[in-house]
């Protein structure tokens, strides 16, 4: 360790392809959702029987479905549902899981044991299973889907927050803070949170991808957003009976789901590389 200060090279790394592509794809989905608020080429809900099952054309970019609804309009509108479910679900998991994880990591002992056993139990109930249970008891709706996916995502946040907190708590700067009588609250706010926030943001992105997948699966099973509001998963499900004749009906919503999930996974990976350079090739 020579006297020369470490240069900024370690903090400012070159923009990664992963992060860039991830951001672009996510931006695309967000843009689609925003656009749908002000404009869609056609009403995504209104059936137009005379236009049913048309292929791609200038008027109907992605063709129409069996009720004659414009697929492109449905895709745009579906982005809204996807993002809404993702946001609320990740929000629930973030708000409940993160503090629990920090608490478990800081307090240790019984608190930690109970929290983490709780997370283990919840882990045996994946988001999709919770959603199916919700659907059975309360009936299917966007709300139950969001809630169920959110609950299913809590353990992920709790675990990430806990392991990050444990790492921070084992450092000497926490010892130093304790040795100058800093309260637990202050340690959590000033030391733990700023140091684990990167990991939590990564988890948000990863969870978002999982939420998008789960929402699509639920709608596919008819347990998500009820018709006629368009959602990608149900569009995919409805396309199934036309696979022999109009396979593109499956391709469009499928591609939309894949783009959204890919975007959020890549974004998460890119952010992880940025926050944790351990796996980076060079040194």
């Amino acid at each position: 360790m020579s006297a020369e200060p470490v240069t900024a090279s370690s903090t400012r790394r070159k923009l990664s392809v992963t992060l860039l592509v991830g951001s672009i794809l996510v931006a695309l989905v967000v843009l689609a959702a925003l656009v749908s608020f002000v404009w869609t080429p056609f009403d995504p809900v209104q059936a137009v029987p005379q236009d049913r099952l048309q292929g791609s054309s200038v008027t109907h970019l992605m063709g129409t479905d069996r009720y004659g609804r414009d697929v492109f309009s449905g895709i745009l509108y579906g982005a809204r549902i996807t993002l809404l479910v993702g946001l609320v679900a990740v929000g629930i998991a973030l708000i409940i899981g993160t503090p629990l994880g920090i608490l478990a990591g800081m307090r240790g002992g019984i608190t930690e044991e109970v929290t983490m056993r709780g997370a283990d139990i919840l882990l045996a109930f994946p988001a999709l299973l919770v959603a199916i249970m919700f659907g059975a008891v309360f009936g299917a709706s966007t709300f139950t889907a969001m809630l169920a996916i959110g609950i299913g995502s809590i353990p992920g946040f709790a675990r990430v927050a806990r392991s990050g907190t444990l790492q921070v708590m084992s450092t000497e700067y926490i010892m130093a803070a304790k040795a100058s009588s800093q309260s637990s609250w202050r340690i959590a706010r000033r030391h733990v949170l700023p140091n684990i926030i990167g990991m939590v943001v990564v988890q948000c992105s990863v969870s978002f991808a999982i939420a998008v997948l789960a929402e699509a699966a639920l709608s596919f099973l008819g347990l998500g957003t009820p018709p006629p509001v368009p959602s990608w998963g149900r569009m995919l499900q409805e396309s199934q009976q036309f696979l022999g004749t109009f396979p593109m009906l499956a391709v469009w919503p499928g591609a939309a789901i894949a783009v959204a999930v890919l975007g959020f996974t890549l974004l998460g990976d890119g952010l992880r590389d940025r926050f944790d350079p351990k796996l980076n090739g060079d040194r």
Binding site: M1, V6, E172, A179, Q182, P194, G281
Partner: protein
């Protein structure tokens, strides 16, 4: 290859240059060793010494390339240009290596015996697998592992650090290589173990006539082990020669600075350690000189007298820290449902007193209980039984509220310059943190002024306040750590191995600073360390800890010059000082 100059040489390295795409790490490195030569390669972190050894083994990391020539006896080919397949035949057979961290260098999922045997089977130097196994046990015995057959059946985590390093050595020597590369092989080990492993390495290479290239930052280790020495700085060899010659008559200013800073027995006119800056007036030890022990002591006791006249008349001074029958028992592992808990007795009845103004050393190896003691002193942990009084307040059983008072009186400087500062906080906020205690008003303007003053006292520029820890070097970070500890004007400063993670040249500066501040702020210093040389320099009273007990206590002179307890004697004999090692050559 062209001329037969390599005849007789074990290894001949010429013009070795190592670089990445963007910069040169090592330039024009030359080394010629004959069979049986023992050469030391000295350098601080970032000097390029480890890169050089990796290049010799042909194991440079991806993206790093080498040029020049490496000729190894018995191989006509320039190793820099050799293919990996060719190098595979050489690695582990004609040239092998021992690494710094024996725990991570061994495969955790494979028993030690098979790991040693593998180096023989892969080079087919033994007839069969079972022969290799048998030979592995023999080798483990030859590196003096107790019960080698059992060691061979053990996993690495079941051996101690020293035992693992012995196993690594057994592995490296299995095929009787002509050249052994050791990269800081004893840095991760305890003092007493370090000495044993060094003796073993020396004995093994002498016995077999193996050439040894020993990479280290520790000059006294080189003085102990090597005939010849190369000093590296910033990727270049700045000086080379006979160890005695180089150490007693250094030509290059960097070598002189390094020597001066390493020599804890020498002080300048003001009783301070030499630093790279003040090295010009440093008089290197003479190779022929022997009376190190006496001379050095005379110096130190002189220093002590003018420094600390009150220290010797201790009885009248009321003790600032008083520790009585302290024990601490930890339950091990998680609370299991059925099995009975096992316990670790970290402290087994520790008692001592520290008078106000004393510089009190706590010496011990890993597992001695010194860290536990420190945590309890700072109110970060509660003792199982016994009492601790610091500046009049009782720590044992104290409530968090009462501890606030205590902690205003006692602050800690930690070991790790990286880990002891929150990377997400500005230096200003780091230093001011101890001021933010419950029940004290926050006065930002006042804090700002205090931080600025503190930065001045520890020798950092005022603009450091706005920067983040990663923008500073290790030594600078340790200064920040000291500033944080002193801002609330404590009466006791506890230093936990404050210099053991620092480079030698920085170490002297930090020790001098610490010493000055203790005087300026009238502090009582508790200095915890495994390094006897450092403790000897800075402390006037010492306790020696081993396995949770204080085995010996007394003034520094008493402990070092006439140790009574067997463990203290081993410790004093094992620890290396530059002068001693040179005198003993």
């Amino acid at each position: 290859m062209d001329k037969k100059t390599t005849t007789g040489a074990l290894i001949d390295v010429r013009g070795l240059t190592i670089s990445t795409k963007h910069r040169t790490l090592v330039s024009n490195f030359n080394l010629r060793m004959n069979p049986g030569d023992r050469v030391g390669l000295i350098g601080e972190s970032g000097s390029g010494k480890s890169m050089t050894t990796s290049a010799l083994m042909g194991l440079l990391p991806e993206g790093v390339s080498a040029s020049g020539s490496i000729q190894l006896a018995g191989h006509p080919r320039n190793l820099v240009e050799a293919t990996d397949r060719e190098l595979q035949k050489i690695r582990g057979k004609d040239m092998s290596m021992v690494f710094q961290e024996p725990l991570t260098a061994l495969n955790p999922l494979m028993k030690v015996g098979p790991q040693v045997a593998e180096i023989m089977t892969s080079h087919k130097t033994v007839a069969s697998k079972s022969a290799a196994q048998a030979r592995a046990v023999e080798l483990l015995g030859s590196v003096k592992l107790p019960d080698p057959a059992r060691a061979a059946r053990s996993y690495p985590h079941q051996l101690s650090g020293g035992q693992r390093q012995r196993a690594m050595l057994a592995m490296a020597l299995a095929n009787n290589p002509g050249l052994l590369l050791c990269d800081e092989p004893t840095t991760a080990l305890d003092v007493t173990v370090q000495r044993q492993v060094l003796d073993l390495i020396l004995e093994s290479v002498q016995e077999r006539g193996t050439g040894l290239l020993f990479i280290t930052h520790d000059l006294s280790v080189v003085a102990n082990v090597c005939d010849r020495v190369l000093v590296m700085n910033n990727g270049q060899v700045v000086e080379e020669g006979d160890t005695g010659e180089v150490f007693s008559n250094p030509q290059h200013p960097y070598t002189r600075g390094l020597l001066a800073a390493s020599d804890l027995n020498a002080t300048d006119a003001d009783g301070r350690l030499f630093t790279v800056a003040s090295a010009a007036s440093y008089i290197p030890p003479l190779a022929e000189a022997q009376p190190v022990v006496e001379a050095a002591n005379a110096e130190i006791s002189d220093l002590r007298e003018h420094d600390q006249a009150a220290g010797d008349t201790a009885p009248e001074v009321p003790s600032l820290i008083s520790v009585k029958d302290l024990t601490r028992i930890y339950p091990v592992g998680r609370s299991s449902l059925f099995g009975k808990r096992s316990e670790v007795h970290a402290l087994k009845g520790v008692s001592f007193d520290v008078a106000a103004g004393q510089r009190f050393g706590v010496v011990g190896e890993s597992g001695s209980g010194k860290s536990t003691l420190l945590r309890i002193l700072a109110g970060l942990d509660q003792p199982t039984s016994g009492s601790v009084r610091v500046a009049g307040s009782e720590v044992a059983g104290a409530k968090e509220r009462d501890l606030v008072q205590l902690r205003q009186q006692l602050q800690i400087v930690f070991q790790d310059p990286m880990g002891s500062l929150d990377p997400r906080m500005r230096v200003r906020d780091i230093i001011a943190e101890p001021l933010l205690v419950p029940g004290q008003k926050v006065d930002s303007a006042k804090h700002r002024k205090m931080v600025a003053e503190m930065l001045g006292s520890v020798g950092l520029p005022a603009d450091a306040a706005e920067r983040f820890p990663h923008q500073f070097s290790g030594g600078q970070r340790q200064r920040i750590s000291i500033a944080r500890a002193l801002i609330c004007e404590p009466r006791v400063l506890v230093a936990d191995e404050p210099v053991s993670a620092l480079d030698v040249s920085v170490r002297a500066q930090v020790l001098n600073l610490l010493s000055d501040l203790v005087d300026d702020y009238h502090l009582t210093l508790v200095f915890v360390s495994h390094d006897l040389g450092v403790v000897r320099h800075i402390c006037d009273n010492v306790v020696v800890m081993n396995e949770g007990r204080i085995v010996e206590s007394g003034t520094t002179e008493q402990i070092y010059d006439s140790p009574q307890h067997a463990y203290t004697r081993t410790l004093v004999n094992s620890s290396m000082s530059l002068r001693n090692e040179l005198a003993l050559r």
